[in-house]
């Protein structure tokens, strides 16, 4: 059974371990640079990308401002179409609802289309506790599940694995989960895909309950939308007798007309494609299918109450910010300790979960504030702004607080700064270039300290600048 993120170390420690894994860094670098380049090329093709991006922001802001109205509209439309709507305040409630719904069908197995929301609430683990096995059917999620691993990317959960690692995972673990890997499996992508196809086909044809998420929910008709590349999701949505969709409440779009915009923004931003291969829409279930929609809050209304932080809820999970982030590129997704890694994870996770744990408190600092994430975000989430906003909430270590207060005191009068500069100049011979004590040692591990000049700029100005 897949592991969960509970009990992860704080970001800097997890990251320090990750950057030493050269295979991981190589895999990540190759993958993120490839997607990054593709995205840049297809975005450059669109003459009015900036306007589309601004429009995406406006639509999502409208949704967030009028969320209650749109959600009631969704409930009404889904119910009218013959579906059932459930409201879940948190992960425990959502898991209990889904578990009960599966138990009511009498089946012990479910197939899943890749879903961030169910990962967020730990649904697979909750179902396992009730004796129900959840089978992931997205290829990358399958690799993660078979490898007893954790997802490392929003769009490409197995981004940290290369194909020879995937071959090993298939050979060692497919048999435990169903149809074994064929003999003589190579690491050719086509062969690996064939093995997965055979393994999954058996599963699709025998499983009676499907669980999905949704990329969008259209309020005016109660229609759910899933975008995917493989067609496996479509099988999960249409073959089972019972379909349960777990969807975060922020996923709403007001109208079909808005969907048009997001069907253009999302694929270009996420996979670097002009259009995604499979778009499935469903309003309640397909004929003869029982349909349940679980609307998930799990901290979202709390995020909504924060006027700066709420823009994180505009996120459409495209992962463009991950692919362009220099920090993510060096450490991968696991260090973020959440199903949402990278820059968006650094602002979304501590807002959804709070900052009680050391890991969650360290996430707003998992960025150099370089701003690349904001530039690529298709709904213009100002991630650096939210990071700084979350940092202001603290908590701060006592030593750092004292240091910052002292620096603030020095900087609040030019005469004090001048005094410190004079002392530094006199002591300049005693400042080591290659070894600093305390927190400075983190600097001198890989960098020399600049030489302190004999005279500050202001002293030179007083002497001969004026």
């Amino acid at each position: 059974m897949s592991r969960t993120f509970v009990g992860m170390p704080a970001f800097p420690r997890a990251a320090e371990e990750a950057v030493q894994d050269s295979q991981l860094r190589f895999n990540l670098r190759k993958a993120t640079h490839t997607i990054r380049g593709r995205r840049a090329a297809v975005v450059d093709e669109v003459p009015d990308w900036a306007a589309m991006r601004a429009a995406g922001k406006v639509v999502k802001d409208d949704v967030l401002r009028n969320l209650e109205r749109y959600l009631l509209q969704v409930e009404e439309a889904v119910t009218r179409a013959g579906g059932h709507v459930h409201w879940a305040a948190d992960a425990a409630e959502a898991n209990a609802i889904v578990t009960r719904l599966v138990e009511d069908t009498g089946h012990r197995e479910v197939v899943k289309v890749k879903s961030m929301a169910t990962q967020e609430i730990g649904l697979n683990e909750a179902l396992a506790q009730a004796g129900i096995t959840a089978y992931e059917t997205d290829l990358a999620e399958l690799i993660v599940q078979l490898g007893d691993d954790l997802p490392s990317h929003i769009l490409v959960p197995a981004i940290h694995r290369n194909r020879s690692e995937i071959r090993e995972i298939f050979q060692e673990n497919m048999a435990r989960w169903g149809r074994p890997a064929p003999d003589g499996l190579t690491d050719e992508p086509a062969t690996l895909a064939d093995a997965a196809r055979l393994h999954l086909r058996e599963r699709f044809l025998s499983t009676k309950v499907g669980i999905s998420g949704a990329n969008f929910v259209i309020a005016e008709t109660g229609t759910l939308v899933v975008l995917e590349s493989e067609g496996n999701g479509r099988m999960c949505l249409t073959l089972p007798e019972t379909l349960i969709s777990v969807v975060g409440i922020e996923k709403v779009l007001p109208t079909w007309r808005d969907l048009d915009l997001f069907l253009r923004l999302l694929p270009r931003s996420s996979t670097g494609e002009r259009m995604n291969p499979y778009t499935s829409t469903w309003t309640a279930g397909v004929e003869g299918q029982e349909f349940h929609l679980v609307l998930l809050d799990n901290g979202r209304t709390r995020v909504l109450a924060d006027e700066v932080g709420r823009q994180a809820l505009r996120c459409i999970r495209c992962s463009a910010c991950l692919n362009v982030c220099p920090v993510y590129e060096r450490v991968g997704g696991h260090a973020y300790g959440s199903v949402y890694p990278g820059p968006i994870g650094a602002i979304l996770t501590p807002q959804l979960r709070g900052t009680a744990s050391e890991l969650d408190a360290s996430l707003p600092y998992a960025s150099s504030l370089c701003g690349a994430c904001y530039d690529v975000c298709p709904v213009a989430i100002d991630i650096p702004e939210v990071l700084v906003h979350l940092r202001a909430r603290g908590p701060h270590p006592a030593g750092e607080r004292a240091g910052m207060r002292a620096a603030g005191w020095v900087f609040s009068r030019a005469s004090r700064l001048r005094g410190v500069q004079r002392v530094m100049s006199r002591m300049r011979r005693f400042v080591p270039r290659r070894w600093l004590p305390g927190p400075g040692s983190a600097w001198t591990q890989t960098r020399d300290v600049p030489a302190v000049p004999a005279e500050s700029f202001r002293e030179w100005w007083e002497r001969e600048g004026r």
Partner: protein, 261 residues
């Protein structure tokens, strides 16, 4: 036109040559530049590390020092971007305070927001001031060396200086400008990030200096000494032989000075 130099606390204390270079360059171009001596720090380190109130106090100081000038020039993309991009956000976010202090807070907030609106549009990064305000790209510099340019994150994505620094460098006599691979990637300094996430910062810097050394340049140039301190510190530790120089120092170089420093 009354022009002030905002040298920044880091340059003032550790890199005085950059400030001297700005003064000599601007005077050569006929600008009468002043250095208001009450200036200290824009508050970026405090705000970005999560000490907002301290940062706002320093921001107030900045606004009162520079309010009386027509233009403020800074040889730091990062500090100029703090003032121009982040001060308005600070002003917008100053509402959430207890109700009993409302009137006082409200007045303070209004005054701060007014000062921000008045001062921040007059703040320029050096390359913007030269190209946009003075209208020059050839500043009469001579620097016969092989140079590569790192467009620091805050110049690139905060101030959007675009190709202004490159145009200035291209007009320098004798200078051979070689492109830096993956130039727009962050070097990993990020202020306190370099200490709080030292391992990631070092990994980012290692890739950056690798690209710098691949160019075969003698000099790495940028418009921000904080980034140069980080990259230069690693270059020195590696005994790479590549020097780092601020854009202002290259632009201030003339035939008789040649390679200063």
């Amino acid at each position: 036109m009354r022009v002030a130099l905002f040298v920044t606390c880091v340059n003032d204390t550790l890199f005085p040559n950059t400030g001297k270079a700005v003064v000599s360059l601007l005077r050569r171009l006929g600008v009468d530049v002043d250095f208001p001596q009450e200036q200290t720090c824009c508050g970026q380190m405090h705000v970005n590390t999560g000490y907002r109130d301290e940062g706002v106090r320093l921001a107030r100081g900045f606004l009162s020092v520079f309010g009386r000038y027509d233009a403020v020039v800074s040889p730091s993309g990062s500090c100029a971007s703090m003032v121009r991009e982040q001060y308005p956000k600070l002003a917008a976010g100053m509402g959430a305070t207890r109700a009993k202090a409302f009137t006082r807070v409200h007045r303070g907030r209004t005054r701060f927001a007014e000062a921000v609106a008045e001062v921040t549009p007059k703040v320029y990064d050096l390359s913007e001031f030269l190209v946009d305000v003075l209208g020059v790209t050839d500043v009469g510099a001579c620097f016969p060396h092989r140079v590569t340019y790192h467009p620091t994150c805050h110049s690139l994505r905060g101030l959007r200086v675009g190709d202004r620094p490159v145009r200035l460098l291209e007009a320098v006599r004798g200078l051979e400008l070689v492109p830096l691979p993956q130039a727009d990637e962050c070097c990993g300094f990020g202020g306190t990030f370099a200490v709080k996430n030292a391992a990631v910062s070092a990994a980012m810097c290692a890739d950056k200096i690798g690209h710098v050394m691949d160019t075969g340049a003698e000099v790495l140039c940028a418009a921000d000494n904080s980034c140069l301190m980080h990259i230069g510190g690693a270059l020195r530790r590696q005994r790479s032989g590549v020097r780092v120089m601020h854009l202002a120092e290259i632009l201030a170089s003339t035939e008789d000075l040649g390679a200063r420093r």
